[in-house]
Amino acid sequence: MLSYTIRRVLSIIPVLLGLLIIISLLIEFIPGDPARVMLGQHVSEEALASLREKMGLDKPFHVRLGIYMFNLFQGNWGDSIREGRPVLTILLERFPATFELTIFAMVFSSVFGVFLGVVSAWRQYSIWDYSGMIIALIGISMPVFWLGLMMIYIFSLQLGLMPFGGRISTELALSSPTGFYTLDALINLNLKALGDVLLHLTMPGIALGTIPMAMITRMTRSSMLEVLNQDYIRTARAKGLKETRILLGHAFRNALMPVITVVGLNFGILLGGAILTETVFSWPGLGTWLLDSIHARDYPAVQGGVLFIGAAFVIINLLVDLSYAWINPKVKYE
């Protein structure tokens, strides 16, 4: 386990390095003078020169990359041009909002996806199976931003049941030591706030979790079907075990590995999809901030934001991989 862990941890270094190079290279491809693109047409030559120097635009690419890397490791991710504050500070402030939403979507998609998948496989070719598969097919074809807007229209604007954006109602003041509002509400023992925060999480979480839910449903179904055709399931049935016991105790446990893989892989889709979902629901997370930075041509912020989300994705994948090895010892010997 230790040698596998070390190998796997070391393997992310070239990936992170590559990510860094690609992101730095992107600046090279800005048509025209990046400093002028960032500051606009009507600025003094001095301001342009000072930005060029600050961002190292006057130096060749490899020197600039070296300086950027050196600074990164010292916690200096540059300053956002738009906000005039350190990029890393902003990223860390915004991260809990996105992460909380992602986790909520993950839980939603896993619970419903696994349930639909198990039922579909258990009653293969029944009406349950067909409905489950059609839900999954529509789910993977769903533009999440549209689903979000439709939910807002129906549940917020027409029925008035749900808040249509943000993380918490404005009248509720919640001190936020962790940045994760659900945790903060628990720490403060504020049940009213907890309910409100969960209500705000519901629609964005469902919108974000739809595509992963569909993928998990399909994976669970095919994995369950494979296991249900095994001899030991027939043996269990012949022994006269209860159907629920066979389904959950025998089949589901053995069908779980591929499902966990898909759940893990979906973190990336969620982090990417969060940009869309956050825009629809005015969620104050990394996605909305990155998008605003793009529209404002705030390149240090864009660079830092993409790097941060990319690195988070790589690290989460690493943790998922390590947890497989822990659950399933066979993985290590591949």
């Binding site: 070239p14 990936v15 590559g18 990510l19 690609i22 992101i23 992107l26 600046i27 491809f29 800005i30 048509p31 097919l137 529509i138 993977i140 074809s141 769903m142 533009p143 931003f145 549209w146 689903l147 807007l149 439709m150 807002i152 229209y153 604007l157 993928m215 399909r218 994976m219 179904r221 095919s222 079907l225 898909v262 990336g268 889709i269 982090l271 990417g272 999809g273 940009i275 869309l276 825009t279 990155l290 998008l291 793009i294 529209h295 864009v302 993409v306 989300i309 990319g310 994705f313 790589v314 994948n317």
Partner: protein, 291 residues
């Protein structure tokens, strides 16, 4: 002689696949949906009497009626007309970006698998890095740098699909390369190019066709997402994602402006996904039921 045999094998593979496909109701439904969108895209000018771009201030935000079956948008344009013309844009984006992915991904995968060694390592490590970035994020980053417009959307959405094609092409090359007949052809003196194009590429077609169809679905979805974020096609282009984004501001008063473009996006993506699933079952039974 050899040529004849190869053709026969090729036709029977596809004939078999087509026979299977005809029995798959979902795949047929998918083909019908795609056919309808292609028809709309091809004959947009003849289907509708309205102009997709010209504004008509006397017809602003009219709800669906006989005159305007899907209503009009916030600038008085017939929504159905814009959706029909939008089909042209989405289909074009899908085809061009998948072509970009297929061409470069195929080239990278073929060379990596065929030549092996350090070429393989470098190319595939690079693909791994691209896969390590969530693809919506990568597409956004590319468009952010190149600037938001229709062409850059196609480039961004296409570039993002390269690693998937590269992996598939590589793994089929690795499988076919070790077959005896490839060794025999090489012994007969065939060059790299002949082996790659006439033998390996032809035999890795099925997984690539399946992947292309499924990738078309995600390309349309990603392009619409970029349009929605304001990073894709710019107004007044009738692009579905951008239309949806414009309609957001008047969601409460005129919900149809958001509803119908969204349905168009979903249906077209659904069509390609249904056909792709059917093709996968027909052409490539090994990939059945897997994502």
């Amino acid at each position: 002689m050899i040529l004849n045999n190869r053709n026969q094998k090729g036709t029977s593979l596809f004939r078999n696949a087509f026979r299977q496909l005809k029995r798959n109701k979902l795949a047929i439904a998918g083909m019908i949906i795609i056919g309808a969108f292609i028809f709309m895209a091809a004959f947009a000018n003849f289907i509708t009497p309205y102009d997709p771009i010209k504004q008509d201030w006397s017809q602003v935000q009219k709800s669906p009626s006989l005159e305007h079956p899907l209503g009009t948008d916030e600038l008085g344009r017939d929504l159905l007309t814009r959706i029909i013309f939008g089909a042209r844009i989405s289909m074009t984006i899908g085809v061009i970006s998948v072509s970009i992915g297929l061409f470069f991904g195929g080239l990278i995968g073929l060379s990596a698998g065929y030549f092996g060694g350090w070429i393989d390592s470098i190319l595939m490590r690079f693909m791994d890095i691209m896969l390590a970035i969530p693809y919506v994020l990568l597409a956004i980053a590319i468009v952010a740098i190149l600037g938001p417009d229709l062409w850059n959307t196609m480039i961004a959405v296409g570039v993002v699909t390269i690693p998937r094609f590269a992996r598939i092409a590589r793994s089929s090359v690795l499988e076919i390369k070790s077959k005896d007949y490839v060794e025999a052809i090489r012994a007969l003196g065939a060059g790299h190019r002949r082996i790659l194009i006439h033998h390996i590429l032809v035999n890795s077609l099925s997984p690539l066709i399946v992947q292309s169809t499924l990738t078309l679905a995600s390309a349309i979805l990603n392009a619409a997402a970029l349009g929605f974020l304001g990073l894709g096609a710019q107004p007044p282009t009738p692009e579905w994602g951008a239309m949806l984004s414009d309609g957001r501001k008047v969601l409460l008063i005129s919900p149809w402006i958001v509803t119908f473009p969204g349905i168009a996006i979903m249906l077209s993506v659904l069509g390609f996904n249904m056909l792709g699933d059917g093709l996968r079952d027909a052409l490539d039974p090994r990939m059945k039921d897997s994502q």
